[in-house]
Point group: C2
Chain length 462, copies 2
Amino acid sequence: MALEPVLSQIDEDISTATERLMDLLRIPSISTDPAYKADCDSAADWLVADLKSMGVDAAKRETPGHPMVVGHINDAPAGAPHVLFYGHYDVQPVDPLDLWDNPPFEPQLEETEHGTVIRGRGSSDDKGQLMTFVEACRAWKAVHGTLPCRITFFFEGEEESGSPSLIPFLEAHREELQADLALVCDTSMVSRGVPSIASQLRGMLKDEFTLTGPRIDLHSGHYGGPGLNPLREMSRIVDSFYNDETGAVAVEGFYEGVHEVPADQLRQWENCGFDEAEYLNSVGYTKAHGEKGYSTLEQQWARPTLEVNGLWGGYNGVGSKTVLPSKAHCKITCRLVGDMDPDKLRDKIRKHVEDRLSTDISVEWDNDLEGSPASVMNLDRPEFEAARGALSDEWNREAVFTGMGGSIPVVGYFNTILGLDSMLVGYANDDDAIHSPNEKYDLKSFHKGIRSWARIMDAIAK
Amino acid sequence: MALEPVLSQIDEDISTATERLMDLLRIPSISTDPAYKADCDSAADWLVADLKSMGVDAAKRETPGHPMVVGHINDAPAGAPHVLFYGHYDVQPVDPLDLWDNPPFEPQLEETEHGTVIRGRGSSDDKGQLMTFVEACRAWKAVHGTLPCRITFFFEGEEESGSPSLIPFLEAHREELQADLALVCDTSMVSRGVPSIASQLRGMLKDEFTLTGPRIDLHSGHYGGPGLNPLREMSRIVDSFYNDETGAVAVEGFYEGVHEVPADQLRQWENCGFDEAEYLNSVGYTKAHGEKGYSTLEQQWARPTLEVNGLWGGYNGVGSKTVLPSKAHCKITCRLVGDMDPDKLRDKIRKHVEDRLSTDISVEWDNDLEGSPASVMNLDRPEFEAARGALSDEWNREAVFTGMGGSIPVVGYFNTILGLDSMLVGYANDDDAIHSPNEKYDLKSFHKGIRSWARIMDAIAK
């Protein structure tokens, strides 16, 4: 089947495709906050209806958490490859809301120095990226009435909240979700205009703990002095996580399972068009603050981290309150690489904290948080070479294999539970401000992303 | 004029007096939160009406902030002493609200192991204590038709929010507020049933700062590693405030102006009935955590502190958010002793922080927060001996001169602006949970507190 008319159809349909994306962006499907449960449901319904409109046998599938969306279509020529396409329809919380220039769920087109962007929560992570593949399929159907590949769509609604329902769902539907290869669109380009295929992902460990000192909040005039303040204790313990000389994490055994990056891979990364200064300066850094002796890309792609995502205790309202608080709270996440074991790492971090607790301070841990190991892609598969060619054709720039600082646990589960390799192609840019106020997705990423998937499907079908 | 019938009148009227206090406690006069401005006004109106009902020439006096209440009554025999009575009608915020067993502004009587208590925000700090003096005056008027002393009532509505209007008001009304001695009822008893007169108070310095790292909140997968987290920086800086070996504050020059307590005063403190174990255990401490080498009472009354009252940044909502936050915030207060200068101390603390900032981290300070030096009372005045006798008679226990860990800046201002000495007598107990959830005031403190003021007025009038 001819590719060119499909690409033309995509160009003609782009403004309508953008409207469809905006409809999806208007649904505040924040998965981590129970208050938005109904909205997550609505987003799933919207996707089911959209897939059905192009002849996909799609349905919303209930879970104990937010629903999955699964769709099947098999109108491809006999012997065509079978791909499982994954994306997630849930989005991050929007706070701090006051830093948004426009309401996060009232998406709009804006002109910027880098061209038109689609502004709104989820535009880049991941609704916009998810829709690049859906729109590519729509164009194939419109032009040829069929698709070049057999396709199973698999959309999740809990990616931003730890995917609690994912493993049981995959285990319960092993047969239904079988395919030759998983395609994932949730990654970014190493730099503007450089098509990128992620060859490795960092894993993730989440934990949260609360330190309790006095039974109740105390008056700092009565107990300030003899009383031990859990915020002081928390500061001491968080500070002890790090070695300020080397920039490394100081938790004993933290780097167990971490491997150095092979020299040839390092060379590739150094030549992949990544602009270190732009990457750091764009957010207000003048230098890389991670482990000394490692480049910014190594710190981001190949080194583990222990990050404090939230820390709070005492009075944070208007004015002042002379209180010595009873509790201090801390949320942390670690990014894992190589063979780091999330469960062993959790134990090491908890031991680090417990070994350092002062008398009269107790710690409680949140035991509902999960971890996932790092992933390395199977670059020997022919689909990777096919995709590299297709992307290079679309972007007039040699596509590159990159690392990834983020974590996409589903890739590991596809492998361990479904026995599936994954290929990660995404069109986001570093300045998309995902997880931040004023998230956006370049219209160019959306448009050329759709065209890229059309080309990739064509290439791997050959 | 005979004292005994006044004391009997107080006993007969105690349940009605308790009802009046509960009316005042129902008004949520939280001064630090602008949302409660109208309530602060209502509390002032309530007090004006109550004073007028007993023949006091009272009026609400507007300020740029919350109003003052000033009342005069001069029906005492010629040559009677003139006292200025001070209390505050504003209260602390009530968060964390979920830790209150009953709504904080729906006061009620409760039976406890220590007898009946009046439960509710402000019951002890300071509405209940303020009303002990008002009720004592009411009883004198009811029995004798006159008061034994000439009295000026002076009630403030900004004590819990730094008293921004106090200094200008005192300066503008020097003449009107003249008296022989100021009486202040905002302190506690050194231990249950031991009448106490505060001989020294700690001063107070408030400050607040915000650390800013990246321009925006960042994705911890993209910038975790090269990015410097302001929460990590905040933890390092807060930890650097303290010397964990000695328990002392590590800010250079912090102890300038601090004097050791004379041996004879230390001996008095050791014999004043203070139960150190009970004081610490009641809130969950097994030992004193302050400066090594100083007793709990010294740490509380005679040593300065640097306390973190609030620390926050990043995500603190439900679930997890993989964010590297842009900002971290910290509220601190210091308790000052001896000749410590609040302004010099503020400079030392700010220099300590600024000297330790990492590249790419900036700090902003809140410049609207004030400080006040420590105060030492003039125990040579005859009124102190008179009050000590009156209190000893009422409580059947030798009254003691104690230190105070808290700060009552007005005492310093009465001295520097009005040229007035102050005498501080209060009936609160350490377990009153002031500034905390479930604040209470013992009915015994209220009842015997009223009787105590009746006796003190009688004694100093002689």
